[in-house]
């Protein structure tokens, strides 16, 4: 157990804490939601609209292949975006809050 004890209920009412919580929730859950929608487009499109996947884009390389590739790009982008947000915004707000209550 940590040596220090905190008044959790009091911190939970701190405006800085509420701001951090709101920002974090809104950002993380919407990013999760959007990336999931994009991710589930893959089985839905390939399963129910296979003709779309067959459209040739670059030589013999078709839309399907590029769309699958884009899933990897999307995953990497989500990681980069969320890391940037966490490193700048969330860590700063957290530090401010911890300094205030700690």
């Amino acid at each position: 157990m940590a040596a220090k004890s905190y008044d959790w209920a009091k911190i939970a009412r701190n405006p800085k804490y509420l701001e951090l919580r709101r920002k974090k929730r809104r950002f993380l859950f919407s990013l999760w939601f959007c990336s999931s929608v994009y991710y589930f487009l893959l089985p839905v499109l390939s399963g129910y609209f296979p003709d779309l996947f067959k459209i040739k884009m670059i030589g013999v390389i078709n839309f399907g292949y590029l769309f699958i590739l884009s899933q990897y790009v999307m995953t990497f982008c989500v990681a980069i975006i969320s890391t940037r947000m966490a490193n700048t915004e969330f860590d700063r707000l957290t530090d401010e809050l911890v300094n205030e209550v700690g």
Partner: protein
């Protein structure tokens, strides 16, 4: 003392790997070793493929690695990892050392270790094989595992690091009745880990049998002894380093192989895919084996079809269901969760997931190059003649691009890739044993029986003994499951993690009212639903179906015979086999007493995940718990801010 035991282990393994040379090789292991998830759903009956349409040229039917080089590479891996174990064992004195490496792993190291935990031999061998036989569908299959880190990164990793200590039970029992919840969480952890573990052990046994003619029993015991050694002596520290070494080897092998493919294709992806489309062997394979068109449809581009979906993944609903299991299941796997506690802070936990995500994503992307390269440079016919599930594609490609069978370069590269597969198996099973042992030793023994009052020395001792028992149990079960269909077990592990563990973790972190009743009903109902659905799904073995397939072969061949045709030797053999299969299986039922699957999807996720969530929510609403709600402020502040974080080095 310790050094002695370890050298004894080394000796046993040396015997285990060399002894088989004296024993006659088992003649039957030609069927798909089903290394794991990817190999799982190769349609049964692929072996009765378009017989006799075109007389194929005689093909290689076995991968033959050079035993001396391969076994020396295996021994090198065993030597290095045991060195790590000796080093780690000296530094493992407290429970925090044993379960969480004292919190002293950096984000970078942990990222490699998580990637190591997650990239199994199934993905390394199975997915490239799938691509080489079914084209783009295999590549699509690989998106799920790459995506599964997103949910961990966004909503699981940091909060869990801030709110937990060593295990799933620690997170879930924070504001609930600790003993009940720990017991249920431990049960679920042990179930998931053992399912996964047995599947890996059986896959390992069969792989070694095919590659090096090492008898199944010897390799299961050899792998088992090593994994117990790693975990019991070196705890999390050794397991982490074994994972890092494995991930490093696996990535170098993958990058190198993909690079060779790209060089051979002159770094030109468009020309590479054009060659695939125009390759007559791939066209034949798609036409005869996959689509079973005996006569070519006029104007149909069978080569292009290889790059279009639907050759392997035929049911969209099943794909969505599988997608759910990938997207949420990884976040509920206890051995992955446990890795967050090895780093000192949430920031490092986040960093480690991002690193794991990049390694993992690049890995699955490279696997696509290897898979298509195998199809083009080896031909699907060759790959499926060696193993009908395609599991040997990566190995064959390494041999070919290294200089061909028999050449020194070919032997060396093939041996290296075999060694990578071996290291992969060792690392994955060690992580699983550690997770299962932690649940029993930390949750059940220390926190339920001893009320959390056990000194460090006892805790470590108990953890070591437990891992010995878990490992032994896994070896015994692995030996018993030799002839079983282990594919169902992998599906089961992921389904249980996604439907039982994941809803409970998410709700306990984000829902104020969530309480003991919710955890228990969520875990129980989610797990049981997933389990029940898999038991009645097509992934189980249905003797009646085997009998029916055999009957079809019999009818065709007997008709040919009756019409005065002479059967080739091969046909006579398959007729005999079909008769045997029919006799053995006709009227038989699956483990659950069924003639045919009731639930038609291979993956239960689309049903069991919502059921798990609903059960967790209903359970919570039925039994209101004021104390759990009051404690929510604490867990929420902790998970968001990291205040009062349980340093793994605190006692």
């Amino acid at each position: 003392m310790l050094t002695k035991i370890i050298s004894a282990l080394l000796f046993v393994l040396a015997l285990a790997t060399v002894a088989p040379a004296a024993e006659p090789a088992d003649s039957s292991p030609k069927s798909a070793p089903a290394v794991g998830a990817a190999a799982q759903s190769i349609p049964a009956g692929m072996d009765v493929k378009a017989a006799g349409a075109v007389a194929p040229p005689p093909l290689q039917t076995k991968v033959k690695p050079n035993r001396t080089i391969t076994i020396s590479m295996f021994m090198a891996i065993v030597g290095v990892t045991l060195g790590v174990v000796i080093w780690a064992a000296r530094r493992t004195t407290t429970a925090a050392d044993f379960y969480a490496a004292g919190g002293g792993i950096t984000g970078l190291q942990n990222g490699w270790a998580i990637a190591g935990d997650y990239m199994s031999a199934a993905s390394f061998l199975g997915m490239s094989g799938l691509i080489s036989l079914y084209g783009i569908d295999g590549f699509m299959y690989a998106v799920g595992p790459a995506f599964s880190f997103i949910v961990i990164l966004l909503v699981i990793a940091e909060p869990c690091r801030n709110a937990g200590k060593y295990t799933l039970g620690d997170i879930l029992s924070f504001r609930t009745s600790p003993k009940t919840v720990r017991a249920v969480a431990a049960l679920s952890t042990v179930t998931v880990s053992l399912f996964y573990l047995i599947a890996q052990m059986v896959g390992a046994g069969k792989l070694m049998q095919v590659l090096l003619d090492i008898p199944y029993r010897v390799s299961v015991i050899g792998v088992g002894v090593l994994m117990v050694g790693y975990v019991a002596f070196g705890g999390m520290k050794a397991t982490t380093w074994v994972q890092i070494i494995k991930a490093g080897l696996l990535m170098s092998g993958t990058v190198f192989l993909a690079l060779l493919v790209m060089l051979k294709a002159n770094m030109n992806p468009v020309a590479f895919f054009t060659d695939i489309v125009n390759n007559p062997q791939i066209q034949d394979h798609v036409r005869l084996t996959v689509l079973k068109d005996a006569v070519a449809r006029p104007g149909f581009d069978y080569g292009q079809r290889f790059l279009e979906p639907g050759l392997f993944l035929k049911s969209p609903l099943d794909q969505i269901s599988l997608g759910i299991a990938w997207a949420l299941g990884a976040a509920g796997l206890p051995h992955i969760l446990m890795r967050f506690f090895t780093v000192p802070s949430a920031k490092e936990a986040r960093k480690s997931i991002v690193i794991a995500l990049f390694i993992n994503g690049s890995f699955f992307f490279l696997i696509n190059i290897i898979g298509f390269g195998a199809a083009l440079y080896l031909s699907p016919q060759l790959i499926s003649s060696v193993d009908k599930g395609g599991n040997m594609a990566t190995l064959l490609l390494a041999q070919k691009l290294g200089g061909g069978a028999g050449s020194f370069g070919g032997d060396l590269f093939l041996a290296f890739i075999c060694a990578v597969a071996f290291a992969t198996i060792l690392a994955v099973v060690s992580g699983l044993v550690l997770a299962a042992s932690a649940a029993i030793a930390h949750d059940v023994y220390v926190n339920i029986f001893m009320d959390g009052k056990a000194d460090q020395k006892t805790q470590v001792k108990v953890a070591r003994v437990t891992s010995l028992f878990v490992g032994t149990a896994a070896i015994v079960m692995g030996l018993m499951a030799e002839k079983e269909n282990v594919v169902a077990l992998v599906a089961l592990a992921f389904a249980v993690a996604a439907s039982g563990n994941f809803p409970c973790i998410l709700l306990s972190l984000f829902w104020r009212r969530f309480n003991t009743a919710g955890v228990v009903s969520g875990l129980a109902v989610g797990t049981i639903t997933a389990l029940a659905l898999v038991m009645i799904s097509p992934v189980m073995t249905y003797p009646q179906k085997i009998a029916d397939d055999a009957k079809k072969v019999m009818t065709t061949l007997e008709k040919k015979q009756a019409e005065g045709g002479v059967l080739a030797e091969k046909e006579l053999k398959s007729l005999e086999k079909a008769r045997g299969d029919f006799q053995k299986n006709d009227g038989g039922t699956s483990m659950t007493g069924l003639k045919a699957p009731i639930f038609t999807l291979k993956n239960p996720g689309i049903v069991s995940v919502p059921v798990g969530f609903l059960a967790a929510i209903f359970g919570t609403l039925l039994f209101r718990d004021k104390r759990a709600e009051e404690l929510f402020d604490e867990i929420e502040v902790r998970q968001i801010t990291g205040l009062g974080i349980s340093k793994a080095s605190d006692h």
